[in-house]
């Protein structure tokens, strides 16, 4: 009963899943369950969570002691080291054993290579609490499914350094754009907007016309995985009015399911109004903008006098001034986000929407931390708290 054995014909997808998880957080949470092997990760600010569940059918043999739960966590880097240089592994490895020895606190990966060569990696681990993001994707108003290529082709238009994108939806279109803050430095940044038609998606269901803003980094990590495996991506999100309104992305096939839950940027009521307005009367629909060949519709009236300097040539229009105003506090708060995220950790789940300052920040995901079973209680009495505190320090 102390031995849990998993054998699989070596499949790259396992290594790719681990690589994808490493883009999220520093630790890998391993939990062999009845319904398969769960690998999870969460980022330090708890704004992104990912879980891969490999069904028992994925493995050629999957045995776990019944009626006994076991969980552990370890540094994801050490697991990645096992699967370093994917290309050469693909050629040489025939079989991979994964074995959990609870007595010795060892997770053993044995790679059976050609010519009888054995590579054994013993990794030590710590006990951990269960890690599970609480999010009901089935209740989401907006559901999309697309081939990974569509999202890869979308993301490619944004510079690698870009942190966040905003995604807005209407009945027929989805807009993806970056957000340019209105202060002087940032105004030099390029604003990019991409419009996707609903029929580019395999499934497109919109009940709430709204927009969400989220980090691109984790999405890129997940896209690498989705593209490599060619599995379709489903996205679920809901009304930004709720306290925590994560955005879930699911990749699945019959033996594998990947769930990514990404926090979205919350807005102050002002900003939300701004958002709603933006999505309901979306910035001039790009296709029309594109088709419009009347040069007068996009003239610039400026610099008609010789003496004028460039600074006086662009007086803000009233509409522009308004949007500047609503974004200014947001911009300021954005810089302090790191800080407020930590506050969020502490106040997790307790803060009412009304009591929140008019902040623009990422909501921490609302995690249900299940208390460990009695046997584990003895070794790790306060696991739940321990993790919440230890993770909130270094924000990436």
């Amino acid at each position: 009963m102390h031995l849990q054995l998993i054998v699989c014909v070596y499949r790259q997808v396992l290594a790719k899943a681990i690589h994808s998880l490493s883009r999220i957080g520093d630790e890998l949470y391993v939990e062999p369950q009845e319904d398969g092997l769960a690998l999870r990760s969460v980022n330090s600010s708890r704004s992104a969570y990912a879980c891969f569940l490999f069904a028992p059918l994925f493995f050629s043999r999957y045995t776990i002691p019944s009626g006994h739960t076991f969980r552990c966590k370890m540094l994801i880097k050490s697991v990645q080291a096992v699967f370093r240089s994917l290309a050469s592994l693909e050629k040489t490895v025939e079989k991979c054993h994964i074995e959990l020895d609870k007595h010795k606190d060892r997770l053993t990966f044995t790679l059976h290579c050609k010519h009888g060569l054995l590579k054994t990696h013993n990794l030590s681990f710590q006990d951990s609490e269960s890690l599970q993001a609480v999010f009901d994707k089935d209740s989401c108003a907006n559901v999309f499914r697309a081939q990974p290529r569509l999202l890869v082709d979308t993301v490619v238009h944004f510079p690698p350094s870009l942190e966040e994108v905003t995604l807005a939806v209407s009945d027929e279109r989805m807009w993806v754009r970056n957000h340019v803050e209105e202060d002087s430095e940032q105004s030099k940044a390029m604003l990019t907007e991409l419009c996707l038609a609903s029929d580019e998606f395999d499934h497109y269901a919109v009940q709430a016309h709204n927009s969400i803003t989220f980090c691109l980094k984790e999405l890129r990590g997940l896209l690498v995985f989705a593209e490599a495996t060619g599995l379709p991506i489903s996205m679920y999100f809901d009304d930004p009015g709720r306290y925590a309104y994560p955005y879930t992305v699911v990749i699945s096939d019959s033996v594998l399911e990947g769930d990514f839950v990404l926090a979205t940027l919350s807005d102050d009521p002002n900003h939300r109004k701004h958002n709603t307005r933006r999505t309901q009367t979306p910035v001039p629909p790009p296709p029309d903008d594109f088709m419009n060949d009347d040069i007068d519709s996009y003239l610039i009236a400026m610099d008609t006098s010789i003496a004028q300097g460039p600074s006086t040539t662009c007086p803000p229009t009233p509409a522009l001034a308004e949007s500047t105003h609503s974004k200014e506090p947001a911009a300021a708060n954005h810089r302090t986000r790191k800080h407020s995220e930590e506050e969020e950790e502490v106040a997790e789940g307790e803060t009412a929407d009304s009591g929140r300052p008019p902040n623009k920040k990422f909501c921490s995901l609302f995690f249900g931390s299940v208390l460990p079973s009695s046997s584990q209680m003895s070794t790790q009495p306060v696991t739940t708290q321990e993790v919440l505190a230890s993770d909130s320090e270094d924000d990436t």
Binding site: V156, V180, S187, M190, T192, E200, P286, F290, I295, A301
Partner: protein
């Protein structure tokens, strides 16, 4: 002030994007001057740029299928913008496979050059991506700074060896010194030299040929009587030369170098419809 252009041909789009990428490797900011016939990318030799100046000239008709513009006024029918070529380059690179690309001057949160591209899709509705690249409009009183530089009264003009070869040489010399002496004569010989306390390295190129500038150029009777063996030289910041050689995305049909003895190195690349001139000042 209005501008709107449309590129449909993939080859033109590709070429345009390569020209702009080349420029983006040379400078962070430059001035884009648009006239009804030409597009110019200009960098004027200010101290802030290390004294380097650049002049790149494109015929709009060779790139744009449609091109409409209305300058500041009827007599000054030009538009002068300060742009970040890096942004333009990035925007154009992501739309390389577009069905059509429009470039237009727009007023968004600030004046922008908007690059709107229609991307191919399987769907009935096209996928459209727009990049708004912020620009600064340059007032007419400053336009005088961005006129075409006059051809310097050079001592020697010579064809350059293949730029890749030259780049390999310069890259290695860069490890040894910060300055490079470029010298050439009217006998088709060019030398790249570095001299430090520890080492002197010279790479000799020969049989390069000297462009026949004819009577109209600055090569007057005085320099024709010049001794073909006599070298004209200029000591330049090696990084400037490296930058020029590194960024090359346009495969020039002709590459030339004019040297004004101890004053300036004038590099010229010609490629069908594009010409790029680059001036590197000599340092003492």
């Amino acid at each position: 002030m209005k501008f709107r252009g449309k590129i449909v041909d993939v080859a033109c789009l590709n070429h345009f994007s390569r020209v702009i990428t080349t420029i983006s490797k040379l400078t962070k900011m430059c001035v884009l001057r648009m006239t009804p016939v030409h597009l110019f990318f200009v960098l004027s030799g200010k101290v802030a740029n290390g004294g380097v100046s650049m002049w790149c000239e494109l015929l709009q008709a060779n790139f744009f299928d449609e091109y409409q513009m209305e300058g500041v006024s009827a007599e000054d029918n030009e538009i002068c913008l300060e742009v970040t070529p890096e942004n333009l380059s990035r925007a154009l690179k992501t739309v390389q496979n577009a069905v059509a690309v429009k470039v237009k001057l727009t007023k968004k949160h600030c004046p922008c050059l908007t690059i709107a591209a229609e991307l191919p899709t399987l769907s009935s509705i096209s996928r459209v991506v727009t990049h708004d690249v912020p620009v600064d409009v340059i007032p007419r009183k400053l336009w005088y700074e961005f006129k075409e530089p006059s051809m310097p009264d050079f001592d020697v003009s010579i064809y350059l060896p293949p730029l890749k070869t030259m780049k390999n040489v310069v890259d290695r010399m860069k490890n040894l010194s910060n300055f490079l002496v470029i010298e050439a004569n009217l006998n088709g010989e060019m030398n790249l030299k570095i001299e430090t306390d520890l080492v002197s390295v010279t790479t000799h190129f020969k049989d390069l040929g000297n462009p026949p500038w004819g009577g109209d150029a600055s090569q007057d009777s005085e320099s024709q009587s010049r001794d073909p063996e006599a070298m004209a030289e200029a000591r330049v910041d090696i990084r400037r030369l490296q930058q020029f050689l590194m960024g090359q995305q346009v495969n020039p049909s002709k590459a030339m170098c004019n040297i004004v003895h101890q004053r300036v190195v004038h590099l010229i690349l010609l490629h069908e419809d594009v010409s790029l001139q680059y001036f590197i000042p000599a340092v003492a």
